[in-house]
């Protein structure tokens, strides 16, 4: 299922020293979060249920533009992968980030997002779909 592979990709295997664990005089081996996963084999990422989407998904260019705006707002490291499936909550967006992202999207696409619609956005794809709906409504 696409959602599982997307989720798996979102946990990059980073070099082991990335957690800045002790080196030098104590000689402790560094421990990465991904090695913690191996110590807790009962953790299996549950598949996210596929949501039944009636409307057409947004164009890849729109999704990419949303990804760029989100990545910039959240100041994410270069190796953090964002896709349409990425959830804002797992990207570490707090409420101020969220409102800033909404305003950034409004500016970039020249649209106006209602508060109720903004509350229903949980993934990058949701945002892109909403944007295209609003853009189409404007020109239609």
């Amino acid at each position: 299922m696409a959602s599982i592979s997307a989720t798996a990709k979102s946990i990059p295997t980073r070099p082991r020293h990335s957690l800045q664990a002790v080196n030098g005089i104590f000689g402790l081996k560094s421990v990465s979060i991904s090695s913690l996963r191996r110590s807790f084999p009962s953790i299996r990422l549950q598949p996210t249920p596929m949501r039944f989407r009636v409307c057409c998904a947004a164009k890849p260019e729109t999704v990419q533009k949303v990804c760029d705006i989100v990545k910039k707002q959240l100041a994410l490291a270069e190796d953090i992968a964002i896709t349409g499936e990425s959830k804002f909550s797992t990207l570490g967006a707090d409420s101020l980030d969220t409102v800033e992202i909404v305003m950034g999207l409004e500016e970039a696409f020249n649209i106006s997002v209602e508060e109720e619609s903004a509350q229903n956005i949980s993934t990058v794809q949701d945002a892109a779909d909403l944007i295209e709906t609003l853009v189409a409504a404007k020109s239609g």
């Binding site: 989720t7 979102s10 946990i11 990059p12 980073r14 990335s18 957690l19 800045q20 664990a21 002790v22 030098g24 005089i25 104590f26 000689g27 402790l28 081996k29 560094s30 421990v31 990465s32 979060i33 913690l36 996963r37 110590s39 807790f40 009962s42 953790i43 990422l45 549950q46 910039k72 707002q73 994410l76 490291a77 190796d79 953090i80 992968a81 964002i82 990425s86 959830k87 797992t90 990207l91 570490g92 707090d94 409420s95 101020l96 409102v99 800033e100 305003m103 950034g104 508060e115 109720e116 509350q119």
Partner: protein, 318 residues
């Protein structure tokens, strides 16, 4: 790692810690319960965690569901933050149970609006204290506020936080007219920036205390301000005629919602922190007394330091 030596927390040869990642952690020192006027705040600075085996200890405390949520976070930095947040909540609550409950044993549920709360078991010979809590985090700090049986909200923001959008644009969009007017009176852009952030934390703390979520309590529908308008900043100790932070509905200006009391201060010289707590009206003095704070800096199982009367907690406005 020299800070661990300085604070005398670890023996010189800490291989023992490295080799026993799954050994039971040192017990948490018990803490006295908050009084009805008090909010206790425990905060952790993620960058102070240098011992990676602590991550094993913290992971051990979490429920399987919490572990999954941690690992779903995008990237190691966010995963570490999420892990620390859960470990902070569990260890903090455990401190108030006089050794009877371990951090691992806590269960959590959400109220009907989605606010997390403790799900207490029933015990035969002991009634667990009716603790309420709330957490907030940034990438550089995680804070947990605890009260005895009173709704609480806490929000922290980095003092240096810059917004991508113009402050007044954000304010026009999300703040009440009175708050926008206040921000407009501040000519200095840095002052306006910091007042925006401080007001944001107060509004967040209020919404979180109410527990109805961002959409249940729209920012635009209420105003938070100082009651005496001629005094913008109060530092140091509380005076009886000091201005106080109040909240009122935009539709009902002048009717202050006295049920809620606030504190706004600087934490660790790095973060603006706002606390909102329901006033304890059962207490006969509850009407007149302002919110009392006790604050600890912690690295669970390693070190706790009470910082209440120190420079780590300053510029308190209530």
């Amino acid at each position: 790692m020299s800070w661990l030596l300085r604070r005398n927390m670890l023996p010189l040869h800490s291989n023992s810690l490295a080799r026993r990642p799954f050994a039971s952690p040192l017990p948490l020192p018990p803490a006295s319960l908050p009084s009805p006027r008090e909010t206790h705040i425990w905060y952790v600075v993620p960058d102070e965690l240098k011992d990676a085996s602590l991550l094993y200890q913290y992971m051990e405390l979490l429920s399987p569901c919490e572990r999954q949520s941690v690992l779903r976070m995008n990237g190691e930095r966010l995963q570490k933050g999420a892990l620390l947040a859960r470990a902070l909540v569990r260890t903090t609550l455990a401190r108030y149970t006089d050794g009877r409950l371990s951090p691992k044993s806590f269960k959590f549920q959400k109220n009907r609006f989605g606010k997390p709360e403790v799900e207490w078991d029933k015990y035969d010979l002991w009634a667990p204290p009716p603790l309420q809590f709330n957490i907030s985090h940034t990438s550089t700090m995680i804070a947990c506020g605890v009260t005895l049986d009173l709704p609480i909200g806490i929000d922290i923001e980095e003092k240096q936080r810059k917004t991508s959008n113009n402050i007044l644009s954000l304010a026009h969009r999300y703040f009440s007219p009175v708050e926008v007017a206040y921000l407009k009176t501040l000519a200095d852009p840095e002052c306006r920036q910091s007042e925006f952030i401080r007001l944001w934390t107060l509004k967040e703390a209020y919404v979180k205390a109410l527990g109805r979520g961002f959409s249940g309590t729209p920012f635009k529908d209420f105003t938070i301000r100082l009651e005496a308008s001629n005094s913008k900043q109060v530092t140091g100790e509380l005076k009886s005629d000091a201005p106080s932070i109040v909240v009122e509905a935009v539709d009902d200006p002048g009717i202050l919602m006295n049920r809620w009391q606030f504190a706004l201060f600087e934490l660790n010289n790095s973060h603006y922190t706002a606390v909102c707590m329901e006033r304890d009206v059962k207490n006969p003095d509850g009407e007149n007394n302002s919110l009392k704070l006790e604050v600890w800096r912690t690295l669970p199982f390693v070190e706790d330091e009470c910082v209440t009367e120190t420079d780590a907690v300053k510029n308190i406005i209530r």
